[in-house]
Symmetry: D2
Subunit: 166 residues, 4 copies
């Protein structure tokens, strides 16, 4: 468990902020370093912001870039912060094309800057899963970890679950 973990930031609800001049949610800098500090994390991490977008805006090109960076980087343990709406699509792109690495996607239902955010909890689970799971691409949400080809966001209830009954 002493390896370095690469964290790729792509935006999502996780990192949304409230613009008090316009009343809109927007992206500024990622909160991941602050969150790791708050968690007193001493995991060896390298944080790299790939994009800061809502995952509904994410294009095929964006996903290719995430895939390429996952392949290129030296680390074999990778966490990707991502909007929840299309997390399963990106997980599928990565799952179908990358071998030999452990990649965990996570996000949040409520922005970190809100008191009621699930961000700290999810980041904690993702960092733990990436250090312990074998090769593969996973989604870490709701305290659970799902393989990329068996995960689905139930938009009405706002939770992730396995596609197939287990």
């Amino acid at each position: 468990m002493s390896e370095r973990v690469r964290i790729f930031v792509t935006g999502g609800t996780f990192d949304k902020e409230y613009n008090e001049l316009t009343g809109e949610l927007f992206f500024q800098e990622t909160h991941v370093p602050d969150m790791l500090r708050l968690g007193r994390s001493h995991v060896n991490v390298e944080i790299e912001t790939l994009m800061m977008i809502d995952s509904l805006q994410m294009t095929g090109q964006d996903r290719d870039r995430i895939r390429d960076r996952c392949r290129e980087c030296a680390e074999t343990q990778i966490v990707v912060t991502h909007g929840t709406d299309t997390m399963e699509q990106t997980a599928a792109v990565l799952g179908q094309s990358i071998a030999g690495k452990t990649i965990v996607l996570t996000g949040a239902m409520v922005p970190y800057t809100f008191g009621s955010s699930d961000g700290m909890f999810n980041l904690g689970t993702a960092l733990a899963f990436v250090q312990t799971l074998g090769e593969g691409v996973y989604v870490a949400m709701n305290g659970k970890c799902f393989p990329w080809n068996d995960v689905h966001k139930d938009r009405e209830r706002g939770i992730f679950e396995a596609r197939h009954r287990r």
Copy 2:
């Protein structure tokens, strides 16, 4: 990963509250259910409060009780919330006497009720580690997971680390 996880609550900084009449920190009910709700956790858990004490007050008898309940309970995946000051002692008691279960101890440096708490992050890591690690007794702090016989709290820096260089 679909098993039920038993969470044993023993108190510790994690669950300390501020008594606004006396200005002292004290224990009331555990915050673990609130924390899991905030984390939107859908892990199947059974929470059981064994005691609500500062871990510096924990006696051999208290540790025996934790050990007994870990043995007796039906679940093989167990999280124990615990004060950080004597977490390694309790881990050693469990590590030397329990086989066939995955037990993860965790806690917090700052009470959950403070804005700056590491509690949510730690609870997230503990729940993830307990679902993925094999048999054994571990301490989950600072984003890492340590085997019970290779963990040490550096009290001056307030962090957990391996006893032996790895």
Copy 3:
């Protein structure tokens, strides 16, 4: 200072919540009772929700309703929670038509549910101003209190100031 204070809730940023299913800000119940509890307020208040809207959506009819309720209610000390964007317009409507009462409008630049909200501070100032100022209609923002006919929101900087240098 022992009179009862009427608090009219009209919505505004103050009371916006984050909908975790849609990712949008919306209105549910007012947070004013929670906020007064958090402030350990023992001011005798009567809270009445008139509407829950963004102040950019507020119509002349809505303002008439606020004015009518301010006139009709038994209390002479009134706080109106309001979106900041058109707070000065509503203040002008009330200022031009109501005599014999002390009315203080307040709001927030950031929703109460965000960690970085100015809501608690503003509500505190508004409740204090309404108990101490004489007859008139005022806007309480940024720790200050402005008469209705000498207040202006600088939208670029997000602060309220006097129209005329003093």
Copy 4:
């Protein structure tokens, strides 16, 4: 209302922090500047820390120093942040010896660094009261303002109230 307000910091629960190495509450720097920033306050203030102590530890000499600084400073509008346990004693010292100034003492039942603090609300009320009340010494707690010679902390309920029925 355009005068400068002097804020004297003396410590109290308001400014207590949690020492994560010892598990004790202690004083570091005052949070008042952060709190005013969070409140988007644009009141012209000058903050001066006189001491950082629990008000149960406050001596006659400490109170003399507060009184002297209240007299000496150029401002006629003064807020004093203070522990709640002996706030009425300090108010009495100031009330019996200072004329020609408006002095408002305030504090908090729960430290600002806790999520459940009343600090922001109280600071808001104190700043508003000091700008609007006439000469005199007052205590601002629980959303109310009490003259120094008619205030009492009910320690069992943790609230301030008038000594005499009004």
